[in-house]
Symmetry: C2
Subunit: 314 residues, 2 copies
């Protein structure tokens, strides 16, 4: 099979032996695989793949058709359209995924959308609901709302009946985020005037930490899942206590199979019906054939867009 | 009635009109009322009483007998032994408390223990279980374990089957904390060697913040309810994300009646049976009659003891 690999901090296309599905695993003919920030870190040698994932093939999400099954696998049949988050290895023509991690592709979703859905929507859903416990009627602030996880979070917040304030640094990206359902889209500097917030989803980093705590409502929760702008900041514990607030840090990639499988079940129950109903969607900014993966990575890092960059095959 | 009051940063005994119980409220003939750190802050003018509590009568907990009832109050009968956390006003001969905030005094508990029970055990129970979700088999670290909330937390942790590491600055207090059931009692500096911990209860403050995050197990929780040693510290969000950890700040005093009533129901269900069974106890370091409240406050701030300082009346 052809696969994108990391070599000397470059993406290089290579031939690799086809993988074999083990017990409970499914062989997927990949049709689309989104690019995520973690892939860029892995390309730079700063985010090694977790144990069990291909060491040098990036790709945290994929969609494709079932092309074979290991012993005991039974959730899907050959030819079924499936998608998943994976620990790595998504950016190849074939991939093996445990069947408990797979989700069916919702009716009506094309390959590019399905291939760019799993990572950002699972991350956003887990952070908003499992970590921060967002409820209808609450006020949500999403920092970094023009990114992949941000656009998913804005839509999910709106879909469950929260009031959504989105902060976006790039002025030219604001209209697109507003179109996704944000009640207000603004510069990060002014966000606190739109509070107080019950939940703040932090996709930017530590520079917002102090202002976030101040902008919380009593009982508020901050979920931190992105720190590109900085990891270390001053926390005022007195303010945190006064607000009876909490800060939750999380990542998906390092979780064991059983926890990833639980996020997939939560997605099937709570999020995929929203796609089937057309309430939420995957904004796709660009697609590139797998052979042009190096260009796709450059396009991803180039910025200036709202939506996923997705590799396609076949 | 006689009451301890705050005047010019001093505790002064004064005569005040007897309070009248309103709808749903109970008049309590106070028999014992513990002193807490918040009273010391209030004496210094740094912790004003919340709305609805007597402005200048300190005292966050009390035990006594039902001496009268407002319209609609029906949970208790005249003469019943009851105890409660209150927003203030506990350190007087009489107090009015909403019946939903009251708990029955467990069989066999003397007045001093009952008067010093509510604040520290409710605070510790809420932080360990409602905030941090402590479970049997987990490793708990309690920073500041020789204080009132600390001694309660060590016992509660042990009672539910957690492994308890206690840190205590004063060497002379360690034997007493060990006797309460801590598996290990040590100097704060060395605590991380005894981790990783699933739950850390922070009763000291920000100086421990960085080491706490490092010492967490994956999925760990930090509950911050004491910050005497400092409120501001550097938080490494990358470490918090890598541990998939959370930090919870909390206070009891400012909560509305309905939330305090819920903590009282949780205490009745989960903690009072442990007193009835003798699994946990209130260490009482000293009792003073209400008239000697100024001396009791000085004894409290003098340090060098393990256990509650309690004012008694009648």
């Amino acid at each position: 099979m052809r696969a994108a690999t990391v070599s000397d901090e470059q993406i290089v296309l290579v031939d690799r032996p086809d993988p074999d599905p083990g017990a409970g695993e499914v062989l997927i003919r990949v049709r689309a695989a989104g690019i995520n920030g973690a892939d860029i870190l892995q390309r730079a040698g700063r985010y090694p793949a977790p144990p069990g994932a291909p060491v040098d093939i990036p790709g945290l999400e994929l969609a494709g058709e079932v092309a074979g099954q290991g012993s005991g696998a039974q959730r899907f049949a050959e030819g079924d359209r499936v998608m998943a988050i994976v620990g790595g290895g998504g950016q190849a023509e074939l991939a093996v995924v445990h069947e408990r991690q797979l989700m069916p592709v919702p009716e009506g979703l094309d390959w590019a959308a399905a291939g760019g859905l799993s990572e950002v929507f699972t991350t956003a859903h887990d952070a908003l609901f499992a970590q921060a416990g967002l409820r209808a009627g609450e006020r949500l602030c999403v920092h970094g709302a023009a990114g992949g996880v941000g656009t998913a979070a804005v839509q999910l917040g709106r879909a469950v009946g929260a009031h959504v304030t989105a902060t976006v640094r790039r002025q030219e990206a604001r209209a697109a985020v507003e179109e996704l359902g944000a009640d207000a889209v603004l510069d990060p500097e002014g966000f606190a005037d739109h509070g107080p917030f019950d939940v703040i989803l932090e996709l930017v980093g530590a520079p917002n930490l102090g202002a976030n705590v101040k902008a919380l409502r009593t009982g508020g929760r901050i979920a931190v899942i992105g720190i590109a702008a900085g990891a270390k900041g001053e926390l005022n514990l007195a303010a945190l206590m006064g607000k009876r607030a909490s800060i939750h840090g999380s990542t998906l990639r390092a979780r064991p199979l059983e926890e990833k499988a639980l996020t997939a079940r939560a997605m099937e129950r709570e999020v995929l019906p929203l796609f089937a109903r057309g309430t939420v969607r995957v904004p796709v900014a660009a697609t590139f054939p797998l052979e042009r993966a190096p260009d796709a990575y450059d396009h991803f890092t180039g910025g200036g867009k709202v939506g996923k960059v997705v590799l396609t095959t076949g």
